[in-house]
Symmetry: C2
Subunit: 220 residues, 2 copies
């Protein structure tokens, strides 16, 4: 590793950035919330208003915060990975993003088979039930929501925060790639059930295979 040799003024800004990252990481600042005004932040973080201003600018440049003139500053992403993946999603080919999604999701399904807790399974079961109920009710928007939640919950059940962060950054792409079955598209119920059942029985290879099959349907 190269030594980073932080100079005095930079390091105060970096401290302020670290402080804000901690507020985001602990869930104190959630997605979409307006952050406190400069004077309060300066007091909370123990730095000058100028330092706060530069830290906010830096986090705004990377897409974590969003400054709305005449209104306030809002949380646009809770991590830089999320902000970055979202920004990439606007730049790179959709095909390449889906391949990254495939990579993450298949590995996550295998890991989830070995690590899922009883709470993970309960959450997945509840989401699968919601997904089916939306389909029965002809509720296309509800179906797409439940489908997104299902995929996010599979990755969450892998209990790898970096995988989850990378994946969460792809959620908008994921949502756009899901078809509303009330318009005649297949709901792929058996494919989703196969992933869930392999995770339930702790079958890593089966979960990876079922996940890959599901993704191959999406990208075909």
């Amino acid at each position: 590793m190269m030594p980073l040799a932080p100079a005095a003024p930079t390091s105060l800004v970096d401290q302020a950035i670290e402080g804000m990252r901690a507020l985001l990481a602990t869930g104190e600042w959630t997605l979409g919330t307006r952050i406190p005004p400069e004077p309060q932040l300066a007091a909370d973080l123990g730095v000058s208003r100028n330092t706060v201003r530069e830290a906010v600018k830096a986090l705004a440049h990377v897409g974590v915060l969003e400054v709305r003139r005449g209104d306030g500053t809002y949380v646009a992403a809770t991590t830089e990975v999320q902000a970055l993946m979202r920004r990439q999603a606007e730049r790179v080919e959709i095909e390449h993003l889906l391949e990254v999604r495939h990579a993450i999701e298949v590995r996550a399904a295998a890991l989830a088979a070995g690590r899922r807790t009883r709470a993970d399974l309960a959450a997945l079961d509840a989401i699968a039930a919601r997904r089916l109920a939306a389909l029965d009710a002809g509720d296309g928007a509800g179906f797409v929501d439940a489908d997104v939640d299902f995929h996010v919950a599979v990755v969450a059940a892998a209990h790898n925060p970096l995988l989850s962060e990378l994946y969460d950054g792809l959620v908008e792409t994921l949502r756009a790639s899901i078809d509303d079955p009330t318009k005649g598209y297949p709901a792929m119920l058996p494919e989703h059930d196969a992933v869930l059942e392999a995770i339930r029985r702790g079958d890593a290879d089966g979960a990876a295979a079922a996940g890959a099959e599901l993704l191959d349907h999406v990208t075909r």
Copy 2:
């Protein structure tokens, strides 16, 4: 997507950042090079020196540039994904990073089987030969270098720029996870050959399976 509503001063800085990102993307600024001094950058990008200074600060905060007082500003990463993955590598558990590596590498091997060009295969053959020669010569450092190059070249052969960026950011972790066989660790020659041969014959499933087997050895 939320509207980003860029205000006037921010948008000039963002333009300068975009300009520098383009210099990095085109290879004009390579890793480790010193970037031109402020006045020249201001002229090149058509903005004020203050704007250049703020843009440099923003890219330094995300780890793309590194400001060395009394010396100059250097390229510390050629993309934000790379800088971010490298920063994450210092923060998250090594186990979680290896799982992300596994996810990317296995999928990349499968994609490479379908997309590798003649040039990709020539590069992989040359690297495999270097790897073997270093082993025969008892050159541990040369072996580790060739091993890193092999894995990076497999991902490159998938021809997915986002996968490559994410993976390139993990190279330091990758290097640290490779054992020097002159110290008695296994060189895993058959495992590496199996990945290369499956890619050569265009066998996506075989490449993924061989890649997974190789990674399972590493993480065991």
